[in-house]
């Protein structure tokens, strides 16, 4: 038995961060996905260096020009270079997406682990709240918040965080609930360890895989959500270059310059595909069932 025990696939790594790192390295899909995401981040940062145009510089004379050597993806109705705007277009989405995802997953993980460990009435109350927030679809909830508080970047970040925390709580709680009855947690409780200490030492390293997958998945949903919000006109404000907003602006000219609509679509889709590949790859590497659970 000793022999076969040693060869069991995916010997767990020690600690939280090493677990995640080992997962990333062991999966090709995750590596490719994260590489795509990294590329997008680099492009967003280095955008001004990659193009000779300014993203908001409009040249009415060149409006709605097709694909040419000067404008590889054509120009929009104000004569702005579409490629330049696509390169810059990830900035708003990326920042909002990163901030809100990290905040939501961080908060949700702590709350989820806590209620799983605590159980009892606290668990009931939190889960009721979670359920009622989930009852309103994310985009509707965002629109409600935006109506009340306006469309500032921070408002959007805070709103997405609030809308996504319940889903994370649900997923992490479910994962933590399968760890809580295990005997090493029981041993810690019998030692009389503090709840926070059990959470940090016993629970967190063992839900790290679920949390990492959740992070990648949430990020992909957040990206979709932010761009949808921009598309509807409540996210990035014109003339800010943003993928969602660009589709909204340019699709009226779909027949004339299809490239102006397709280019931001391709950029957005590859970014989200990257995140999804990462989530898929990690989930597969760790044997987590990504789709057989609720909470979005």
């Amino acid at each position: 038995m000793t022999g076969s025990e040693l060869t069991v696939a995916g010997t767990p790594a020690q600690g939280t961060l090493r677990t995640v790192w080992a997962g990333i390295r062991s999966s090709r899909a995750a590596t490719i996905g994260l590489a795509i995401v990294a590329l997008h981040v680099l492009v967003a940062i280095a955008a001004p260096l990659l193009t000779s145009y300014a993203p908001t510089q409009s040249v009415p004379a060149e409006a709605l020009a097709g694909v040419s050597w000067d404008h590889l993806a054509g120009t929009d109705q104000y004569g702005r270079d579409v490629l330049t705007r696509v390169l810059h277009g990830g900035r708003f989405a990326l920042v909002v997406c990163a901030l809100s995802t990290v905040a939501a997953v961080g908060l949700g993980t702590v709350v989820g682990c806590f209620v799983a460990l605590r159980g009892g009435w606290a668990d009931n109350v939190v889960m009721r709240l979670v359920d009622s927030v989930l009852a309103v679809p994310a985009i509707l909830a965002l629109l409600v918040v935006v109506t009340a508080l306006g469309t500032g970047t921070w408002v959007v970040v805070a709103a997405i965080t609030i809308v996504y925390v319940p889903g994370v709580v649900r997923v992490v709680r479910a994962a933590a609930q399968s760890v809580v009855p295990l005997e090493y947690v029981t041993a810690a409780r019998a030692r009389g360890e503090r709840r926070w200490s059990i959470l940090r030492r016993e629970l967190l390293p063992n839900v790290a895989d679920v949390v990492a997958v959740e992070l990648a998945m949430r990020a992909s949903w957040a990206a979709l959500l932010v761009s949808s919000l921009s598309f509807l006109g409540f996210g990035a404000n014109p003339p800010t270059p943003d993928w969602g907003l660009m589709v909204a602006e340019n699709r009226t000219a779909l027949t004339v310059v299809p490239m102006a609509t397709l280019a931001p679509i391709v950029a957005l889709a590859t970014f989200v595909v990257g995140l999804n590949l990462a989530a898929d790859g990690l989930a597969k590497a760790w044997g987590i069932d990504r789709f057989r659970r609720d909470g979005r």
Partner: protein
């Protein structure tokens, strides 16, 4: 279906079989034959390849495994030479399997009757005949109310009934070959005895060639005519069962048989200890539990423990015995401060404070907390898989003893030596240790607090016999070295016989009998204790077969009049007087809290007789 049956009618022939999984050989040149009407057992510890061999009879190999040599023929057909349709026909008519865990092997969304009918239809029966045969088979496997039980879903049946349905599924089509894959693992001993009796009777009556897989020598002794011992994929010995048990030819077989704990006859290995144990003056009392009731809800019927009292003295091993659901683990968890009792008192007597154990672990003073330590059943889940095992030992050393730096490292190494574990192994992750090593780490973790009382909850249940024996030896040594008192929870009377000074037998949340181990095993017992002891299978074909015979156990009133039972409530009149015997079955029923004293701390809870049709 009628066929001529001669004893030398060989139905299963496995010849030079080798199976590889990836690059590792999991079955290595195994050969055996099974004639009709005979049962062959494949015995071995986990990883021996016994299940892999058995499943090849059905033409099944785990994904990724492949046949590297040899041939398997069943009923004269080369199993791995069959095409898909042929293989399906073979499975539906000629060879059938009784799986290990019927609870998982029955489809949860289908009525059990439909599942049996379906098997019959696949074997070529028409619908009416299938329905009729299903009822007939249910009767044959002694399921209650065979006409209607088929309407039930698997979850509506008890574990024993599920196993009977699984057997019905296998025998309904009258297969020539039957494969039993650990057919009673996971069942309580009393249920196990009934299932084994049924299997024995069926295989004899149907004249099947039976191949059974088991790790349990008691089960093998009860069923097998012939046994093949497997080790790491190789057959080390193959012999008629009687010969194998009486004069094992191979060193490994001898070792395994020697490690099997027994109840009767053979003395435990440390014979000297045994005699000394009986005489040794009892130490001071450490733990006193009085009228404790523990529940998981607020109603009376949610009580898992309904009034338990006992004492534990320094240096003594008290075994808490019972079937699953008897409340024994609940009691252990309560002592460890994981689940508070509803009422009654639990005290650690030498404590400086009040030593109240009714309070949760978190509320207990540090000094009290470290005095009572728990060791767990499942070595796989008792260690955090993401931390090196040294952490498991270090944490209590820091918490309870305040050790840091080199002191910590020194004590850690010392503990490893205490549990006979190489200190280097502590740097590994749990997954990189064997089951026995992990259990040793679990014990070291409990020892780290220098406890006075160790609560061991089924700590050897998940281990192979040879590993189990070494853990029991370790426990024996530790209690001498550390002057430990141990509450040893187990369902296995053989293990208990070997290690315990005193015994507490629990049933339905109450202690039905307690006393010195020898007295309980030998003396007049509570009917439940008696049933448990009789159902425990010894690694001896004669004893084990006698035990699973349908008439074994006998009439409760017979035992009573033979003076083999005590505790019948004295004011209760025998309700059987004047009643016609016939189909009436006599059973015992709990009769309240009084215990009958038999001297030397041997006490039996009162019971009374009831009759049942």
């Amino acid at each position: 279906m009628e066929r001529s049956m001669r004893a030398d009618d060989v139905l299963v022939r496995v010849d030079d079989l080798s199976v590889a999984y990836g690059d590792t050989t999991v079955v290595d040149q195994v050969s055996f034959e099974v004639p009709a009407g005979s049962t062959t057992a494949l015995v071995g510890e986990s990883g021996s390849g016994k299940t892999t061999v058995a499943r090849t009879l059905l033409g099944h190999l785990r994904a990724g495994a492949r046949l590297t040599s040899g041939r398997v023929s069943v009923g004269g057909r080369d199993v791995f030479g069959l095409d898909r349709a042929g293989l399906r026909r073979l499975r539906s008519t000629t060879v059938a399997m009784v799986p290990q865990n019927a609870g998982h092997a029955l489809t949860p969304s289908m009525r059990v009757g439909r599942q049996v009918e379906e098997a019959l239809l696949a074997a070529g029966a028409d619908r009416a005949a299938a329905r009729e045969r299903t009822v007939e088979t249910f009767a044959q496997v002694s399921l209650p109310d065979p006409d209607r039980i088929g309407r039930r879903y698997p979850h509506q049946l008890s574990g024993g009934q599920q196993q009977r349905v699984a057997i019905a599924l296998a025998v309904a089509v009258r297969p020539k070959v039957l494969v039993l894959d650990e057919p009673t693992t996971g069942l309580d001993v009393i249920t196990q005895r009934a299932i084994l009796g049924l299997l024995r009777e069926l295989t004899l009556r149907l004249g099947t060639a039976t191949v059974m897989v088991s790790h349990d020598f008691g089960v093998v002794a009860a069923l097998a005519d012939h046994a093949t011992v497997l080790r790491a994929g190789r057959a080390v010995e193959s012999a008629p069962a009687k010969q194998l048990f009486q004069e094992p030819g191979d060193e490994y077989t001898r070792e395994l048989l020697g490690a099997v704990p027994r109840i009767g006859g053979a003395v435990s290995r440390n014979g000297a200890d045994q005699s000394q144990r009986g005489e040794s003056p009892r130490g001071e009392s450490l733990l006193r539990v009085q009228d404790v009731r523990i529940g998981y809800g607020h109603r009376e019927r949610d009580l898992a423990v309904r009034g338990a009292s006992f004492e534990l003295r320094r240096g003594e091993v008290v075994a808490l015995v019972g079937e699953s659901g008897s409340g024994k683990s609940t009691l252990a968890w309560s002592l460890a401060g994981l689940h508070g009792p509803r009422d009654g008192s639990m005290r650690y007597l030498p404590a400086t404070g009040d030593g109240d154990l009714a309070q949760a672990a978190r509320r207990r003073p540090l000094e009290l907390r470290r005095r009572i330590q728990l060791v767990f059943q499942n070595a796989d889940t008792s260690l955090n898989p993401r931390r090196v095992v040294a952490e498991a030992v270090r944490r209590p050393l820091r918490l309870f003893r305040g050790l840091r730096g080199s002191e910590l490292a020194a004590r850690e190494a010392e503990l490893a030596r205490d549990v006979r574990l190489e200190p280097e192994l502590l740097r590994r992750l749990p997954m990189q240790l064997s089951g026995g090593q992990r259990q040793r780490v679990g014990i070291a973790r409990a020892l780290a607090g220098s406890p006075a009382v160790m609560v061991a909850d089924e700590i050897t249940t998940a281990l192979d016999v040879s590993v189990q024996a070494s853990i029991l030896d370790l426990l024996e040594q530790l209690r001498g070295e550390h002057d430990l008192a141990c509450l040893f929870i187990s369902h296995d009377l053989g293990v208990v016989k070997r290690i315990a000074d005193r015994l507490l037998v629990m049933h339905g949340g109450v202690v039905v009998e307690e006393g010195p181990a020898d007295a309980v095993f030998d003396g007049p017992n509570h009917p439940y204790t008696r049933e448990l002891i009789e159902a425990t299978l010894e690694p001896d074909p004669e004893l084990a077969r006698a035990s699973v015979r349908p008439e074994a156990g006998g009439d409760i009133r017979e035992s009573l009049s033979a003076g083999r039972l005590t505790g019948l409530r004295h004011d209760a009149t025998d309700p059987g007087v004047g009643a016609s015997t016939g189909a009436v079955v006599w059973r015992w029923r709990d009769a309240g809290p009084e215990m009958v004293e038999l001297g030397d701390g041997h006490r039996v809870r009162q019971w009374e007789l009831t009759s049942e049709r």
